[in-house]
Symmetry: C2
């Protein structure tokens, strides 16, 4: 038709946008305290990023005012630090304030108590709202003209569409193109599988 193709049609990889419900990442030591000596996480469902999975195991989160969130899913594999990722709506329900942080950057963040079938594990810190981000393979980064650490925007269409600013680009050869937003962001725009999404600079 003589018109340029939309960017998505010529992109090297399809844009996948996934909503991360609240979850946690745990060390092997925390898993043993919560689920018993020698316990290893079982795969419930593989995630889009290779090697990552939602575990069969979940814990109960006890907030600073003794309010509780049950069935907080553990994501595997285990990491070298413990981190709980909540939406702000979750934090309000629990009655505490959590900062917006990049995953892994948990110094001076609030802690919480986790409860599993074998015991309690006290996290001294690590409760955060994870900053929105996009995983990119270097091929994707090159296509969109960005580098690791840059920020993009995500335009989400539909009857209550939004544009999310400050979408951090995380570029690695092991990554597949995927945006991670939380339930507040996903519910603000009622993101559904068929909702049109576009990454813009």
């Amino acid at each position: 038709m003589g018109r340029p193709l939309p960017l998505a049609a010529i992109a090297p990889n399809p844009l996948v946008v996934n909503v991360s419900a609240r979850h946690c990442h745990l060390t092997p030591a925390a898993v043993e305290v919560l689920f018993g000596k020698g316990h290893q996480l079982q795969v419930h469902k593989p995630l889009y990023q290779a090697g990552h999975f939602a575990a069969k195991e979940a814990v109960t989160l006890i907030g600073p005012r003794s309010r509780v969130i049950s069935n907080l899913r553990i994501l595997g594999p285990c990491r070298e630090f413990n981190q709980v990722e909540l939406a702000y709506t979750d934090a309000v329900a629990l009655g505490f304030e959590i900062p917006l942080r990049l995953s892994g950057n948990i110094q001076d963040t609030p802690g919480c108590m986790l409860m599993g079938p074998s015991g309690f594990f006290e996290m001294k810190q690590g409760a955060i709202r994870a900053a929105r981000h996009v995983h990119m393979h270097p091929v994707d980064a090159e296509f969109y003209g960005v580098k690791n650490g840059d920020e993009m925007k995500l335009r989400i269409g539909g009857s209550c569409g939004i544009v999310l600013d400050k979408m951090l680009c995380r570029v690695d050869k092991s990554f597949k193109l995927e945006v991670h937003i939380d339930t507040d962001e996903g519910n603000a725009c009622n993101l559904q599988p068929e909702t049109p999404c576009e990454l813009i600079k």
Copy 2:
């Protein structure tokens, strides 16, 4: 400095953006069933729009799967129809799907049960997510160059800023300039009193 002033500096009225937590509007008949014959809503806190208020009274909402939300605030004064306004996160927690509707447009929407100190009231319909909107006095509408029923965007700044599309303009001589968004939208961008906001066409 020779640069044009930002729009907000020359606007006839300050832009107020308020987050509406889940709440309900009730008829006088529903209030009597829930709180007793002849009961009238008491003012807990006046709202920004003249004559509107958060009532002292709250009800318990019972969803279709017997899940419950306590302390659902009633907003007054009473209306000619019953309506429950929830965020999608609330609806997910209750376990049902609610449509995005303009306030008052509740035909063929799901119902729910309300419980008060004097009894139960079954709403046959009226559970919605209220579409984001901006109340405007005609002076504001003229300034922004819009008319009743038009849509604008709201840009919200800060460390997790967003742009909300499809912000419906509701123009009336009784209105003061005020945007209403829900808790999903407010929490998606961590809206705080000092967060910069801008209405754009």
